[in-house]
Amino acid sequence: MALSEAPIGQPARYGEVFDRGYKHYDGPQLGRGAAAWALVRYSAKRALGIKKSWTAKIIPILLYVAAAFPVILVVGITAFAPNAEVWDYADFFIFTFVIEGLFVATIAPEMVCGDRRENVLPLYFSRAITRLDYLLAKLVATALLTLTISFIPAFLLWLFLQLLADAPLSAMGDNLDDLARVAVAGGLIALYLGAIGLMISSFTGRKSVAVAVIVVAFLITQALGVALFEAVDRGSAYHDYLVFLSAGQTTIGLVGALWPDSDIDLSELALWTYVAVMLVVVAICCLVMLWRYVPDE
């Protein structure tokens, strides 16, 4: 069939076939930052199962429902029985830690294992990004997604509790410090757990193996950390630092330091100690990942 050039300014006949030709791209090229951000968005979508089969979406959806459940429960109870003793923010974060751990175990392998297993890395590294950009994009994507489960439910809890007050606007103003604590806890936990999950996932191309190793690592370090914490004399100088042996104990300790009036009595360490240790762990995870992705020179 002969093809014709597409006419300019003339209506096309129905069914006419045009040679679309090849047009050179003369639009903007946004550079390295835009490329890295595109990787963040794409990775986040893939990890949530967007544009994938329903089986890929089911676990993230269930975890979001599980994270929303205590918010609904606490807000519901507070609405009908304002004087009832319900969970405070510290209890809420301790409960949702399990959900956050499972969420990271689900999404972190999706972030990096597929790229390694399906051999997509050479394509990424032949584009306008560096290996460090790739890792940072994956870390940002993981942390942002984890933030949706570590921060947003807690933020909604804070918001609904203020709206249930007699004077919502003034209640919001009075409780801004709680909101700041929620933001710090949500952000740090997302970054900390996300980095650990990604680091473990970077060692294998098999998602199922990565999921299992992350879950087992959280469980074993938690058991070991609690056992040592209980076994060692509470008066010893290094006793309090044993909380850093497990992600769970570290998170509980952080929440206890953020809400000193809560029932948590894990250690006497200051808030900045938790923040510093968690950021150091994030940095170590990044270095390990960088080593994993350095080319064999």
């Binding site: 791209y25 090229q29 835009a34 490329a35 050479p122 394509l123 032949s126």
Partner: protein
């Protein structure tokens, strides 16, 4: 009123001599070591803006050269530039303007071709909307218009190769590196892929470097050939120039060539039988000057031997390859077209 592009009418009337476009790749003393292994050995190379074949056996240094040119590895010594950018310090700039099609299977099976190619366009810095548009355009160009919303896992090897090609050109690069583009393809798929590659340079104006170990593919689609052996450059020249083997003539006679050979040898010419087993009795005569033609004519006439053919001998890429790499590797045997 008809608008006339001044460049269109100026070109034929211009007396300014045609200036060759700048080369896309230049390397000087390029060296790459992996521990004790020398992968590239002081490579001096200029690749013109054309369709260029990069030939060499496995381990010849082709992939190492591509990695260095993409700025993905640092050279141990020497320097190279791609499109005028230094590979050591301007890798990002290079990769913004260069496309790369790896040899290996590198496509995520659970993604549609349109999604993946669009994502790769965004990874080259294109805005989201432009990336989707470009993905649709290039998938049309490589013949996957209808299949672009199908998952890649349902694609044949040929279709996957087309997706790989599409992602390499989706950001409209000035230069594209294709690593073994016909790998694993059936004959028809290979033909189609070679046609596509030829079109990329001819119609789309993109310089192409095809790394391959299949001589026929290079001979068919490339204008220039670079041959590596053991990490060293052994040939870099236009394919058209390969045909002249330095001035040998091929002569076929009816009857016994013995007296004819004796007569020419006595006249001081260099004569030997052809190595081509398919043409019995063919002689190779070195062309030392125009007097050789007269000597052949006179000898044939005096001996009353019918002269069946007299032609210049042209060399194939395989001859050139075996003449250089075969000697380098200590082999000179027949080849089946793949090295």
């Amino acid at each position: 009123m008809i608008a006339v592009d001044e460049r269109t009418i100026a070109a034929p009337m211009s007396v300014v001599p045609e200036v060759a476009p700048p080369p896309v790749v230049e390397a000087r003393g390029l060296e790459k070591r992996y521990g004790r292994h020398l992968a590239l050995d002081r490579l001096d190379l200029t690749i013109p803006r054309a369709s260029v074949g990069l030939l060499g056996a496995n381990g010849a240094g082709k992939t190492t050269l591509l990695r260095l040119l993409l700025g993905l590895a640092k050279p141990s010594a020497g320097q190279a530039s791609v499109l005028g950018f230094d590979t050591r310090h301007q890798g990002i700039k290079i990769r913004e303007r260069v496309g790369y099609m790896p040899e290996s299977d590198c496509l995520p099976p659970g993604t549609t071709a349109a999604d993946f190619v669009g994502h790769m366009a965004e990874m080259s810095g294109l805005p989201s909307r432009a990336a989707r548009q470009r993905a649709a355009d290039v998938l049309y160009q490589v013949g996957l218009d209808e299949e672009r919303y199908r998952l890649i896992k349902g694609f044949s090897t040929g279709m996957k190769q087309r997706v790989k090609l599409a992602q390499a050109i989706v950001h409209d690069p000035d230069l594209v590196f294709l690593d073994e583009p016909t790998n694993g393809m059936d004959p028809q798929g290979r033909e189609d892929m070679l046609d596509l590659i030829a079109r990329i340079h001819r119609n789309l104006g993109i310089a192409v470097v095809v790394s391959s170990h299949i001589l026929e593919d290079i001979e068919r689609v490339c204008q220039h050939v670079v041959i590596l052996s053991g990490g060293r450059l052994v040939v870099s020249q236009p394919i058209g120039d390969l045909g002249d083997d330095g001035g040998n003539l091929l002569v076929r006679l009816d009857g016994d060539p013995g007296p004819f050979v004796a007569r020419l040898t006595a006249a001081g010419l260099h004569v030997r039988p052809s190595e081509d087993d398919d043409v019995w009795g063919e002689l190779v005569i070195r062309r030392d000057g125009d007097h050789v033609y007269d000597a052949i004519r006179d000898a044939a006439a005096d001996l009353d031997l019918p002269l069946r053919s007299l032609r210049s001998r042209s060399r194939s890429l395989e001859d050139v390859y075996l003449g250089n790499v075969g000697v380098e590797n200590g082999t000179g045997g027949a080849s089946d077209g793949a090295v």
